[in-house]
């Protein structure tokens, strides 16, 4: 990740108000020719001026590392963990990470002690499927007085994936009619058989966290349970009758989710892509990834 050599300072909204106060003080002092008011004026002006190098220094030795964001569905929040490291020998205060390209999403950490790091999660809305690049990240701070904001820009190569928005109202195709009778809609966690573990996603029910693994010092994992597996379905792009490619992708995404939930092995066929039927997180995500990165132009 590249960073600008020096932080830049910008005036904040409070700066205008401060200028007004300073002007009022100056006017009062000069019209009264009063040394005491001049003293107050110069005190305020000097404290403000001195706060500029202090604000700039507050970013010195502070660097940013973007971690990989988990894929999200279009319309949902992207959760982007970042780590702010303070390599300097002083505590840094009131540091904010701003994503200028994503609605100025900002997150703030109040203090980072010397030689340590803070982790923040930036959350912002995703609108379009595909692979997106986090280009610019600003590290800003207006500590101590808040009349100037120091800002340091970081350029990141980090990308995040946005899956198509799951939508549509078609039923999951039942290519294998012999299994149709005993197919029961059962989601993950509702079956009886232990199907494995996967990474815990914040917001999920805590009931299925593998607490024993946590006690052993492992990260939070969610236990998956599933009902009996069934025959494979093929989710085929060409069989959908929508005019719009995005609608087709949304429908396929929904089916992928439904099939995965139902522990129904599924395969995916897109123009130029064919994924053979399977089940599980790996398979689930590789299907969604294919849907996310699908480029219609090349195939029409």
């Amino acid at each position: 990740m590249k960073a600008g050599k020096f932080p830049l300072a910008y005036p904040t909204a409070g700066f205008g108000a401060l200028l007004f106060v300073l002007a009022a003080m100056w006017y009062a002092a000069s019209s009264q020719n009063s040394a005491a008011i001049y003293l107050l004026l110069f005190l305020l002006a000097s404290v403000f001026l001195v706060s500029i190098p202090n604000t700039l220094t507050n970013l010195a030795g502070v660097t940013l590392r973007v971690e990989s964001a988990k894929p999200s569905f279009a319309g949902d929040e992207v959760v982007l963990p970042v780590e702010i490291m303070n390599t300097s020998r002083a505590t840094r205060y009131g540091i904010e990470v701003v994503l200028p390209d994503a609605d100025k999403t900002r997150e703030r950490v109040d203090s980072i002690p010397r030689k340590s790091a803070a982790r923040l999660t930036l959350r912002f809305a995703s609108y379009h499927r595909g692979e997106h690049k986090i280009e610019n990240l600003d590290l800003t701070s207006c500590y101590p007085l808040g009349f100037v904001r120091a800002s340091k820009r970081f350029v990141s190569n980090q990308t995040y994936l946005v899956y198509p928005k799951p939508a549509g109202n078609s039923q999951l195709p039942t290519n294998h009619s012999r299994f149709a009778d005993n197919r029961v809609q059962q989601g993950i966690g509702h079956g009886d058989d232990f199907a494995g573990v996967r990474a815990y996603v914040p917001g999920e029910s805590q009931r299925h966290i593998d607490w024993k693994a946590v006690a052993r010092g492992q990260p939070l994992m969610t236990k998956e349970f599933a009902a009996e597996t069934k025959g494979a379905v093929s989710l085929d792009f060409f069989e959908l009758r929508f005019a719009n490619v995005e609608e087709k992708l949304s429908q396929l995404t929904l089916w992928v989710i439904e099939a995965e939930r139902a522990r129904q092995p599924y395969g995916l066929r897109l123009p130029g892509v064919k994924i053979s039927p399977a089940l599980g997180q790996m398979h689930f995500h590789s299907c969604l990834r294919a849907l996310s990165l699908f480029r219609p132009v090349e195939h029409e």
Partner: protein, 680 residues
Amino acid sequence: MSKSSNPIKRDTSIPRRPLLWMAAALLFTLPPFFDSLAVWVPSLFLLSLALKFWMETRGYRLRSVVLKLMLVATAVTTAFFSYSSVRGVEAGISLLVVLMSLKILEAHTAREFRVMVLIGWMLCLCGFFLSQDLTTALCLLIAFALLAVALIQFHRGAAPGAVWPPVGTTCKLLLQASPLVVLFFLLFPRINTGFWFELRPFRSANTGFSDRLSPGSIAALANSSEIAFRAEFPGSSTRPSGPMYWRGLVMWRCNGMEWRGPYDPRPKSSSSTRGFAGNSGLPVPSANAKEIQQRITLAPNGARWMFALDRPIKAVPGAMLARGDYLLSVQPIRKSRRYEVVSSESSGNEITAKGRAEALEVPASISPAVRDLAHSWTVHNHDSRGVVSSALQFFRTQGFSYSLTPGEYDDLEEFLFRRRVGFCGHYAASFATLMRLAGIPARVVVGYLGGEYNDLGHFFLVRQADTHAWCEVWLPENGWTRVDPTAAVAPGRASLDLTTFLETRIASGQMGARRNALIALLLRSGVFTNVRFIWQTLSYEWDSRLLAFDADVQDVLLTSMGIASRGPVFLIVEILLVAIALLAIYFAWMQLRTRSRTDRVKALYEYFCRKTARLGVPRDPCEGPLDFAQRAAQSLPNESNRIRQIANTYILLRYAPQPASGMVDRFAKEVNAFGARTRH
């Protein structure tokens, strides 16, 4: 490490800790308001501050726009009616304070906190409008600093440490700012924009005496410990001996017990200031009289009186020497003023025929008994001196007594023959009237007597309580001679200072009886005197050095530095350049101080990586030194040996239990050689 919810995104309440600091700061802005504004204004301010805290903890908000508008309208109307106008400084400031109180009540988002701090700084400005003495200034400067603390605490969010860290940061900022403040204060051009509005006299009454001396007018001042002026003697290091009579104003117009200033305080014509020794022809005593130089710092009194010891012999700039040898300022004195004046101990010796006639005028309304008393002295004595001593003898022996509360009467006859109780005003007025009746030219002088000598700062502090009135009579051989009839009645008056003054107040029961013993103990203790002297000295320095540093003094300074002629714009540019240089130095210093110390091996290895990057093989952050060396050696076959060598040395330096002593230097040589070889 601590995180907080984003204050900008979820901006619903003002954090508590900064609000507490802010409240402390605002309390410090109050003393000048309680001193000068209508009491309900600062009370409303306090009330809204208290209400704000009550509301914040319960999450109450002032949401209704109608209610807000009604509150504003009520406040403005009340301010208007209590001052009967919205013009004038006091009314304007009251309005500002009231509106700020309402803003404090209304503000409820973190964003508004900054606005509240700025409002606090505006309140400091308002405070300085009302009073600029040291006590007020200290309060307001503390308030200023506390507001900065509040702002810093606000930006610290939930960072650990609620008291000392923000205070420490504020102190650091103030310390860094102090050279800039000195620079700006001394050199920043004081451009005068006073033509838009002038500070009106906002004190309801002028302090000090008026140009009328009536019974009781001085007694009213006797309880005021307010400072009149301070005087230094730059020529001599010791205090002058003898009673100190500070001349203020000379009164010519007699009306029995009541005296007034001259009809026309015109300056003396230059021809009359010298030489004319009346009708006696005696040698002029002033030829070898001692001259005393004084430096006087006058507190603003709203009047035109300026003071000097005994008899000033020359006018000072901005003032004239009025008839009767007293200083009269051209403009009313509305701010602290400092001047040097030379006085003579000798009395004035000239009198014109017109002046003589004026100094003998008596009103016709004076009763025969009083006239007879004056005539009885002229019958028994042949010269003026004898008449004066007979009169003093009369006051001394006829049972007259001195009192601060003589009661209400203004009849000369009643005072001389029945009541016989009075204050210095009574004695001076009646004595001068009697002298005129006896045919001796006489006038009343009002000024100050004594004062408190500050051993620490070597200056006299004269208070309103030291106000005094005495007489001057024209004696043929001496000219105008000071006669103090009060001294004949109450010889102790001349040595009255604040301590004795306070003791007399205690004795007269004006303070609570229970506290008397404690206060008396306090007054007698040396600590009290010392603390008082230190405070007085500081206060004097504040007034005479800081407050007196106005545009004129600055001009003198700039001229002495040789930069006065360059014009204000150049001066501002130069000052800003110096300020920017100073800020750059601060910045560099702070960067150096907080930069992490990287060890030499790591720095060298990073240097090596930069070199390989320049050759087209950048190191990936996740690549270990061995892997990287492998890859780099493949990409740069010419340098493969060197790269492997460097990697090996680096690994040894990093991970060997005890690397050889000269290894770091060898590593440095290898790294340095690496770049140099490849470039050629």
